[in-house]
Subunit: 233 residues, 2 copies
Protein backbone atom coordinates (compact mmCIF):
# COMPACT_ATOMS: atom_id res chain seq x y z
CA UNK A 1 0.00 0.00 0.00
CA UNK A 2 2.84 2.36 0.88
CA UNK A 3 4.28 1.80 -2.62
CA UNK A 4 0.88 2.17 -4.27
CA UNK A 5 0.45 5.53 -2.56
CA UNK A 6 3.94 6.64 -3.59
CA UNK A 7 3.36 5.73 -7.20
CA UNK A 8 -0.06 7.34 -7.32
CA UNK A 9 -2.02 4.08 -7.26
CA UNK A 10 -4.59 3.62 -4.50
CA UNK A 11 -5.97 6.30 -2.26
CA UNK A 12 -5.14 7.28 1.30
CA UNK A 13 -7.61 7.49 4.16
CA UNK A 14 -7.01 10.88 5.72
CA UNK A 15 -8.17 12.28 9.06
CA UNK A 16 -6.96 15.85 8.62
CA UNK A 17 -7.72 17.00 12.16
CA UNK A 18 -6.02 14.02 13.79
CA UNK A 19 -2.98 14.25 11.55
CA UNK A 20 -2.60 17.94 12.37
CA UNK A 21 -2.70 17.07 16.08
CA UNK A 22 -0.07 14.38 15.54
CA UNK A 23 2.19 16.85 13.72
CA UNK A 24 1.80 19.30 16.61
CA UNK A 25 2.71 16.57 19.10
CA UNK A 26 5.86 15.65 17.17
CA UNK A 27 6.86 19.32 16.99
CA UNK A 28 6.12 19.88 20.69
CA UNK A 29 8.18 16.82 21.59
CA UNK A 30 11.17 18.22 19.67
CA UNK A 31 10.85 21.57 21.44
CA UNK A 32 10.51 20.00 24.88
CA UNK A 33 13.51 17.78 24.15
CA UNK A 34 15.42 21.00 23.49
CA UNK A 35 14.27 22.46 26.84
CA UNK A 36 15.26 19.18 28.50
CA UNK A 37 18.78 19.33 27.04
CA UNK A 38 19.17 22.98 28.08
CA UNK A 39 17.88 22.26 31.59
CA UNK A 40 20.32 19.36 31.85
CA UNK A 41 23.15 21.69 30.73
CA UNK A 42 22.04 24.19 33.34
CA UNK A 43 22.14 21.46 36.00
CA UNK A 44 25.69 20.53 34.95
CA UNK A 45 26.90 24.17 34.78
CA UNK A 46 25.25 24.91 38.06
CA UNK A 47 26.62 21.81 39.76
CA UNK A 48 30.14 22.76 38.65
CA UNK A 49 29.64 26.30 39.89
CA UNK A 50 28.49 25.09 43.32
CA UNK A 51 31.54 22.79 43.55
CA UNK A 52 33.84 25.72 42.71
CA UNK A 53 32.05 27.92 45.25
CA UNK A 54 32.58 25.24 47.87
CA UNK A 55 36.31 25.10 47.11
CA UNK A 56 36.52 28.91 47.06
CA UNK A 57 34.71 29.08 50.41
CA UNK A 58 37.19 26.63 51.96
CA UNK A 59 40.22 28.43 50.49
CA UNK A 60 38.99 31.84 51.60
CA UNK A 61 38.29 30.50 55.11
CA UNK A 62 41.80 29.02 55.28
CA UNK A 63 43.38 32.29 54.10
CA UNK A 64 41.26 34.29 56.53
CA UNK A 65 42.84 32.36 59.40
CA UNK A 66 46.35 32.63 57.98
CA UNK A 67 46.34 36.25 56.74
CA UNK A 68 45.93 38.61 59.71
CA UNK A 69 46.22 41.61 57.37
CA UNK A 70 43.32 40.43 55.18
CA UNK A 71 41.37 38.40 57.73
CA UNK A 72 38.10 40.30 57.28
CA UNK A 73 38.25 40.40 53.47
CA UNK A 74 38.86 36.66 53.18
CA UNK A 75 36.37 36.07 56.00
CA UNK A 76 33.31 37.67 54.44
CA UNK A 77 34.12 36.12 51.08
CA UNK A 78 34.30 32.68 52.71
CA UNK A 79 30.93 33.27 54.36
CA UNK A 80 29.29 34.43 51.11
CA UNK A 81 30.60 31.48 49.09
CA UNK A 82 29.42 29.03 51.73
CA UNK A 83 25.94 30.54 51.86
CA UNK A 84 25.77 30.42 48.05
CA UNK A 85 26.77 26.75 48.17
CA UNK A 86 23.99 25.92 50.58
CA UNK A 87 21.35 27.76 48.52
CA UNK A 88 22.88 26.33 45.35
CA UNK A 89 22.30 22.80 46.54
CA UNK A 90 18.67 23.63 47.28
CA UNK A 91 18.23 25.13 43.80
CA UNK A 92 19.90 22.06 42.26
CA UNK A 93 17.15 20.01 43.93
CA UNK A 94 14.53 22.15 42.20
CA UNK A 95 16.21 22.01 38.77
CA UNK A 96 16.66 18.25 39.10
CA UNK A 97 12.96 17.85 39.84
CA UNK A 98 12.14 20.00 36.79
CA UNK A 99 14.47 17.92 34.59
CA UNK A 100 13.08 14.65 35.89
CA UNK A 101 9.46 15.72 35.31
CA UNK A 102 10.11 17.03 31.78
CA UNK A 103 12.02 13.83 31.08
CA UNK A 104 9.02 11.72 32.13
CA UNK A 105 6.67 13.88 30.09
CA UNK A 106 8.81 13.70 26.95
CA UNK A 107 10.35 10.24 27.11
CA UNK A 108 7.53 8.30 28.77
CA UNK A 109 4.17 10.01 28.29
CA UNK A 110 4.70 11.54 24.84
CA UNK A 111 6.67 8.49 23.73
CA UNK A 112 3.82 6.19 24.79
CA UNK A 113 1.32 8.18 22.72
CA UNK A 114 3.72 8.17 19.76
CA UNK A 115 3.92 4.36 19.98
CA UNK A 116 0.11 4.19 19.69
CA UNK A 117 0.31 6.62 16.77
CA UNK A 118 2.79 4.28 15.08
CA UNK A 119 0.34 1.36 15.49
CA UNK A 120 -2.46 3.59 14.19
CA UNK A 121 -0.43 4.57 11.14
CA UNK A 122 0.36 0.92 10.35
CA UNK A 123 -3.30 0.00 10.76
CA UNK A 124 -4.20 2.83 8.40
CA UNK A 125 -1.76 1.47 5.77
CA UNK A 126 -3.16 -2.07 6.11
CA UNK A 127 -6.75 -0.86 6.06
CA UNK A 128 -6.15 1.16 2.90
CA UNK A 129 -4.47 -1.87 1.26
CA UNK A 130 -7.50 -4.10 1.96
CA UNK A 131 -9.84 -1.31 0.95
CA UNK A 132 -8.04 -0.93 -2.39
CA UNK A 133 -8.16 -4.71 -2.95
CA UNK A 134 -11.90 -4.76 -2.32
CA UNK A 135 -12.48 -1.78 -4.59
CA UNK A 136 -10.52 -3.39 -7.42
CA UNK A 137 -12.37 -6.69 -7.05
CA UNK A 138 -15.73 -4.93 -6.93
CA UNK A 139 -15.13 -3.17 -10.25
CA UNK A 140 -14.16 -6.44 -12.02
CA UNK A 141 -16.36 -9.25 -13.53
CA UNK A 142 -18.63 -11.06 -11.04
CA UNK A 143 -18.42 -14.85 -11.47
CA UNK A 144 -18.83 -17.30 -8.58
CA UNK A 145 -15.08 -17.44 -7.82
CA UNK A 146 -14.83 -13.67 -7.80
CA UNK A 147 -17.90 -13.38 -5.56
CA UNK A 148 -16.11 -15.73 -3.12
CA UNK A 149 -12.99 -13.57 -3.22
CA UNK A 150 -15.07 -10.42 -2.76
CA UNK A 151 -16.70 -12.05 0.28
CA UNK A 152 -13.29 -12.78 1.84
CA UNK A 153 -11.99 -9.33 0.90
CA UNK A 154 -15.08 -7.82 2.52
CA UNK A 155 -14.32 -9.66 5.75
CA UNK A 156 -10.66 -8.61 5.70
CA UNK A 157 -11.76 -5.07 4.92
CA UNK A 158 -14.10 -5.05 7.93
CA UNK A 159 -11.47 -6.52 10.30
CA UNK A 160 -8.89 -3.91 9.31
CA UNK A 161 -11.45 -1.12 9.27
CA UNK A 162 -12.37 -2.00 12.86
CA UNK A 163 -8.72 -2.19 13.88
CA UNK A 164 -8.00 1.14 12.21
CA UNK A 165 -10.98 2.82 13.84
CA UNK A 166 -10.19 1.36 17.25
CA UNK A 167 -6.62 2.68 17.02
CA UNK A 168 -7.82 6.02 15.69
CA UNK A 169 -10.06 6.27 18.71
CA UNK A 170 -7.16 5.24 21.03
CA UNK A 171 -4.96 7.92 19.51
CA UNK A 172 -7.68 10.56 19.82
CA UNK A 173 -8.21 9.75 23.49
CA UNK A 174 -4.48 9.56 24.27
CA UNK A 175 -3.89 12.89 22.53
CA UNK A 176 -6.65 14.48 24.56
CA UNK A 177 -5.29 13.14 27.86
CA UNK A 178 -1.74 13.99 26.85
CA UNK A 179 -2.69 17.57 26.07
CA UNK A 180 -4.40 17.93 29.46
CA UNK A 181 -1.48 16.41 31.26
CA UNK A 182 1.09 18.34 29.31
CA UNK A 183 -0.55 21.60 30.33
CA UNK A 184 -0.94 20.47 33.94
CA UNK A 185 2.64 19.21 34.27
CA UNK A 186 4.20 22.12 32.40
CA UNK A 187 2.15 24.67 34.32
CA UNK A 188 3.41 23.21 37.57
CA UNK A 189 7.00 22.69 36.47
CA UNK A 190 7.40 26.08 34.80
CA UNK A 191 6.04 27.73 37.94
CA UNK A 192 8.40 25.72 40.15
CA UNK A 193 11.36 26.48 37.86
CA UNK A 194 10.55 30.16 37.81
CA UNK A 195 9.87 30.53 41.53
CA UNK A 196 12.93 28.53 42.58
CA UNK A 197 15.25 30.41 40.21
CA UNK A 198 13.76 33.79 41.14
CA UNK A 199 14.10 33.07 44.86
CA UNK A 200 17.67 31.80 44.47
CA UNK A 201 18.85 34.69 42.32
CA UNK A 202 17.14 37.15 44.68
CA UNK A 203 19.16 35.59 47.53
CA UNK A 204 15.88 34.69 49.22
CA UNK A 205 16.72 31.45 51.00
CA UNK A 206 13.39 31.23 52.84
CA UNK A 207 11.35 31.66 49.68
CA UNK A 208 13.52 29.13 47.87
CA UNK A 209 12.95 26.52 50.58
CA UNK A 210 9.27 27.35 50.70
CA UNK A 211 9.02 26.89 46.91
CA UNK A 212 10.60 23.47 47.23
CA UNK A 213 8.21 22.48 50.01
CA UNK A 214 5.32 23.78 47.92
CA UNK A 215 6.24 21.85 44.78
CA UNK A 216 8.33 18.88 45.71
CA UNK A 217 6.41 15.62 45.62
CA UNK A 218 8.72 14.13 48.23
CA UNK A 219 8.03 16.81 50.81
CA UNK A 220 4.28 16.86 50.22
CA UNK A 221 2.20 14.79 52.68
CA UNK A 222 0.69 11.87 50.72
CA UNK A 223 -2.79 12.49 49.31
CA UNK A 224 -2.78 16.17 50.18
CA UNK A 225 -3.07 17.06 46.55
CA UNK A 226 -4.33 14.81 43.76
CA UNK A 227 -1.26 14.09 41.61
CA UNK A 228 -1.63 13.90 37.84
CA UNK A 229 -1.52 10.41 36.35
CA UNK A 230 1.81 11.40 34.83
CA UNK A 231 3.48 11.66 38.22
CA UNK A 232 2.12 8.29 39.25
CA UNK A 233 3.98 6.50 36.47
CA UNK B 1 79.70 26.05 47.45
CA UNK B 2 76.36 24.28 47.14
CA UNK B 3 78.22 20.92 47.29
CA UNK B 4 80.39 22.09 50.16
CA UNK B 5 77.26 22.99 52.13
CA UNK B 6 75.63 19.65 51.32
CA UNK B 7 78.68 17.69 52.41
CA UNK B 8 79.10 19.67 55.60
CA UNK B 9 82.13 21.67 54.42
CA UNK B 10 81.88 25.45 54.47
CA UNK B 11 79.33 27.53 56.32
CA UNK B 12 76.21 29.29 55.15
CA UNK B 13 75.42 32.97 55.59
CA UNK B 14 71.94 33.07 57.02
CA UNK B 15 69.49 35.96 57.35
CA UNK B 16 66.79 34.21 59.36
CA UNK B 17 64.23 37.01 59.19
CA UNK B 18 64.60 37.48 55.45
CA UNK B 19 64.46 33.74 54.75
CA UNK B 20 61.28 33.44 56.80
CA UNK B 21 59.73 36.25 54.75
CA UNK B 22 60.76 34.50 51.53
CA UNK B 23 59.18 31.23 52.70
CA UNK B 24 55.97 33.12 53.52
CA UNK B 25 55.98 34.69 50.04
CA UNK B 26 56.40 31.29 48.32
CA UNK B 27 53.57 29.87 50.43
CA UNK B 28 51.34 32.87 49.75
CA UNK B 29 52.02 32.60 46.02
CA UNK B 30 50.92 28.94 46.05
CA UNK B 31 47.73 29.85 47.89
CA UNK B 32 46.94 32.77 45.59
CA UNK B 33 47.60 30.56 42.56
CA UNK B 34 44.96 28.23 43.99
CA UNK B 35 42.49 31.13 44.33
CA UNK B 36 43.36 32.15 40.79
CA UNK B 37 42.62 28.66 39.42
CA UNK B 38 39.32 28.51 41.33
CA UNK B 39 38.31 31.99 40.15
CA UNK B 40 39.13 30.97 36.58
CA UNK B 41 36.97 27.85 37.02
CA UNK B 42 34.20 30.02 38.39
CA UNK B 43 34.49 32.28 35.32
CA UNK B 44 34.23 29.26 33.02
CA UNK B 45 31.31 27.68 34.93
CA UNK B 46 29.57 31.00 35.10
CA UNK B 47 30.15 31.77 31.44
CA UNK B 48 28.64 28.41 30.49
CA UNK B 49 25.68 29.03 32.76
CA UNK B 50 25.00 32.43 31.19
CA UNK B 51 25.16 30.87 27.70
CA UNK B 52 22.65 28.21 28.77
CA UNK B 53 20.41 30.86 30.32
CA UNK B 54 20.51 32.79 27.06
CA UNK B 55 19.45 29.70 25.08
CA UNK B 56 16.76 28.88 27.66
CA UNK B 57 15.46 32.45 27.48
CA UNK B 58 15.19 32.24 23.69
CA UNK B 59 13.51 28.82 23.78
CA UNK B 60 11.02 29.88 26.45
CA UNK B 61 10.21 33.06 24.48
CA UNK B 62 9.64 31.00 21.32
CA UNK B 63 7.39 28.54 23.18
CA UNK B 64 5.50 31.38 24.82
CA UNK B 65 4.48 32.62 21.37
CA UNK B 66 3.63 29.15 20.10
CA UNK B 67 1.84 27.70 23.16
CA UNK B 68 -1.36 29.67 23.84
CA UNK B 69 -2.20 27.31 26.74
CA UNK B 70 1.15 27.96 28.47
CA UNK B 71 1.90 31.44 27.17
CA UNK B 72 2.26 33.07 30.61
CA UNK B 73 4.33 30.28 32.13
CA UNK B 74 6.82 30.29 29.27
CA UNK B 75 6.67 34.08 29.15
CA UNK B 76 7.76 34.84 32.70
CA UNK B 77 10.45 32.16 32.51
CA UNK B 78 11.79 33.77 29.33
CA UNK B 79 11.88 37.15 31.03
CA UNK B 80 13.68 35.81 34.13
CA UNK B 81 16.33 33.98 32.11
CA UNK B 82 16.99 37.05 30.01
CA UNK B 83 17.34 39.30 33.04
CA UNK B 84 19.72 36.76 34.61
CA UNK B 85 21.75 36.78 31.39
CA UNK B 86 22.12 40.52 31.45
CA UNK B 87 23.16 40.59 35.11
CA UNK B 88 25.34 37.55 34.51
CA UNK B 89 27.35 39.36 31.89
CA UNK B 90 27.90 42.25 34.28
CA UNK B 91 29.05 39.85 37.00
CA UNK B 92 31.37 38.14 34.51
CA UNK B 93 32.98 41.56 33.97
CA UNK B 94 33.63 41.79 37.72
CA UNK B 95 35.00 38.25 38.03
CA UNK B 96 37.22 38.79 35.00
CA UNK B 97 38.63 41.93 36.57
CA UNK B 98 39.27 39.99 39.80
CA UNK B 99 40.99 37.17 37.87
CA UNK B 100 43.09 39.60 35.84
CA UNK B 101 44.23 41.52 38.94
CA UNK B 102 45.11 38.37 40.92
CA UNK B 103 46.91 37.10 37.84
CA UNK B 104 49.01 40.28 37.67
CA UNK B 105 49.73 40.10 41.41
CA UNK B 106 50.77 36.45 41.30
CA UNK B 107 52.42 36.08 37.90
CA UNK B 108 53.97 39.52 37.50
CA UNK B 109 54.48 41.24 40.85
CA UNK B 110 55.23 38.18 43.01
CA UNK B 111 57.15 36.55 40.16
CA UNK B 112 59.30 39.67 39.76
CA UNK B 113 60.20 39.61 43.48
CA UNK B 114 60.93 35.89 43.26
CA UNK B 115 63.33 36.55 40.36
CA UNK B 116 65.22 39.03 42.55
CA UNK B 117 65.18 36.43 45.34
CA UNK B 118 66.76 33.93 42.92
CA UNK B 119 69.52 36.43 42.10
CA UNK B 120 69.96 37.08 45.82
CA UNK B 121 70.22 33.36 46.56
CA UNK B 122 72.82 32.90 43.82
CA UNK B 123 74.77 35.90 45.12
CA UNK B 124 74.64 34.38 48.61
CA UNK B 125 76.08 31.09 47.29
CA UNK B 126 78.88 32.90 45.44
CA UNK B 127 79.64 35.14 48.39
CA UNK B 128 79.87 32.18 50.74
CA UNK B 129 82.18 30.39 48.28
CA UNK B 130 84.58 33.38 48.15
CA UNK B 131 84.31 33.81 51.91
CA UNK B 132 85.24 30.15 52.46
CA UNK B 133 88.20 30.53 50.03
CA UNK B 134 89.44 33.57 51.91
CA UNK B 135 89.01 31.86 55.30
CA UNK B 136 90.99 28.80 54.12
CA UNK B 137 93.80 30.92 52.68
CA UNK B 138 93.94 33.04 55.83
CA UNK B 139 94.48 30.01 58.07
CA UNK B 140 97.37 28.67 55.89
CA UNK B 141 101.11 29.66 55.76
CA UNK B 142 101.77 33.25 54.72
CA UNK B 143 104.48 33.50 52.07
CA UNK B 144 104.63 36.21 49.37
CA UNK B 145 102.61 34.16 46.80
CA UNK B 146 99.95 33.35 49.38
CA UNK B 147 99.77 36.99 50.45
CA UNK B 148 99.17 37.84 46.80
CA UNK B 149 96.38 35.25 46.58
CA UNK B 150 94.88 36.46 49.85
CA UNK B 151 94.92 39.99 48.44
CA UNK B 152 93.00 38.85 45.31
CA UNK B 153 90.64 36.68 47.39
CA UNK B 154 90.01 39.68 49.63
CA UNK B 155 89.02 41.72 46.58
CA UNK B 156 86.74 38.97 45.26
CA UNK B 157 85.28 38.56 48.73
CA UNK B 158 84.52 42.29 48.90
CA UNK B 159 82.98 42.37 45.39
CA UNK B 160 80.67 39.43 46.16
CA UNK B 161 79.92 40.69 49.63
CA UNK B 162 78.78 43.99 48.10
CA UNK B 163 76.73 42.21 45.45
CA UNK B 164 75.16 39.95 48.08
CA UNK B 165 74.32 42.87 50.34
CA UNK B 166 72.95 44.96 47.49
CA UNK B 167 70.67 42.10 46.43
CA UNK B 168 69.67 41.41 50.03
CA UNK B 169 68.69 45.03 50.30
CA UNK B 170 66.80 44.82 46.96
CA UNK B 171 64.91 41.77 48.18
CA UNK B 172 64.10 43.42 51.51
CA UNK B 173 62.73 46.50 49.77
CA UNK B 174 60.79 44.49 47.18
CA UNK B 175 59.29 42.30 49.86
CA UNK B 176 58.19 45.36 51.79
CA UNK B 177 56.59 46.95 48.73
CA UNK B 178 55.09 43.63 47.67
CA UNK B 179 53.51 43.14 51.07
CA UNK B 180 52.01 46.64 50.94
CA UNK B 181 50.74 46.14 47.44
CA UNK B 182 49.46 42.65 48.10
CA UNK B 183 47.34 43.98 50.96
CA UNK B 184 46.17 46.96 48.89
CA UNK B 185 45.30 44.92 45.80
CA UNK B 186 43.73 42.04 47.69
CA UNK B 187 41.74 44.39 49.92
CA UNK B 188 40.31 46.05 46.83
CA UNK B 189 39.79 42.86 44.81
CA UNK B 190 38.25 40.86 47.64
CA UNK B 191 35.87 43.73 48.33
CA UNK B 192 34.95 43.98 44.63
CA UNK B 193 34.53 40.20 44.37
CA UNK B 194 32.35 40.11 47.46
CA UNK B 195 30.21 43.13 46.60
CA UNK B 196 29.67 42.08 42.98
CA UNK B 197 28.78 38.50 43.91
CA UNK B 198 26.54 39.62 46.77
CA UNK B 199 24.72 42.11 44.56
CA UNK B 200 24.30 39.60 41.73
CA UNK B 201 23.04 36.78 43.97
CA UNK B 202 20.70 39.21 45.72
CA UNK B 203 19.26 40.09 42.31
CA UNK B 204 20.29 43.69 42.89
CA UNK B 205 21.14 44.90 39.40
CA UNK B 206 21.65 48.53 40.42
CA UNK B 207 24.05 47.66 43.22
CA UNK B 208 25.93 45.31 40.89
CA UNK B 209 26.40 48.03 38.29
CA UNK B 210 27.33 50.53 40.98
CA UNK B 211 29.95 48.12 42.34
CA UNK B 212 31.45 47.82 38.87
CA UNK B 213 31.52 51.58 38.45
CA UNK B 214 33.09 51.91 41.89
CA UNK B 215 35.86 49.38 41.28
CA UNK B 216 36.48 49.08 37.58
CA UNK B 217 39.61 50.84 36.41
CA UNK B 218 38.06 51.34 32.97
CA UNK B 219 35.01 53.20 34.24
CA UNK B 220 36.94 55.34 36.72
CA UNK B 221 37.78 58.88 35.51
CA UNK B 222 41.57 59.04 35.08
CA UNK B 223 43.49 60.33 38.09
CA UNK B 224 40.46 60.35 40.35
CA UNK B 225 42.14 57.82 42.60
CA UNK B 226 45.83 57.07 42.81
CA UNK B 227 46.23 53.57 41.40
CA UNK B 228 48.71 51.22 43.02
CA UNK B 229 51.92 50.67 41.07
CA UNK B 230 50.70 47.13 40.49
CA UNK B 231 47.86 48.34 38.30
CA UNK B 232 50.16 50.56 36.29
CA UNK B 233 52.20 47.62 35.07
Amino acid sequence: QMFSERFGRGTRTVDLELEAQIDVLRETKLKYEHILRLAQSLTANFYNMVQTQQALGDTFADLSQKSPELQDEFGYNAETQRLLCKNGETLLGAINFFVSSINTLVNKTMEDTLMTIKLYENARLEFDAYRTDLEELSTGPRDAATMMRIEIAQQEYQIHKDKYERLRSDVTIKLKFLEENKVKVMHKQLLLFHNAISAYFAGNQQQLEQTLRQFSVKLKPPGSDKPSWLEEQ
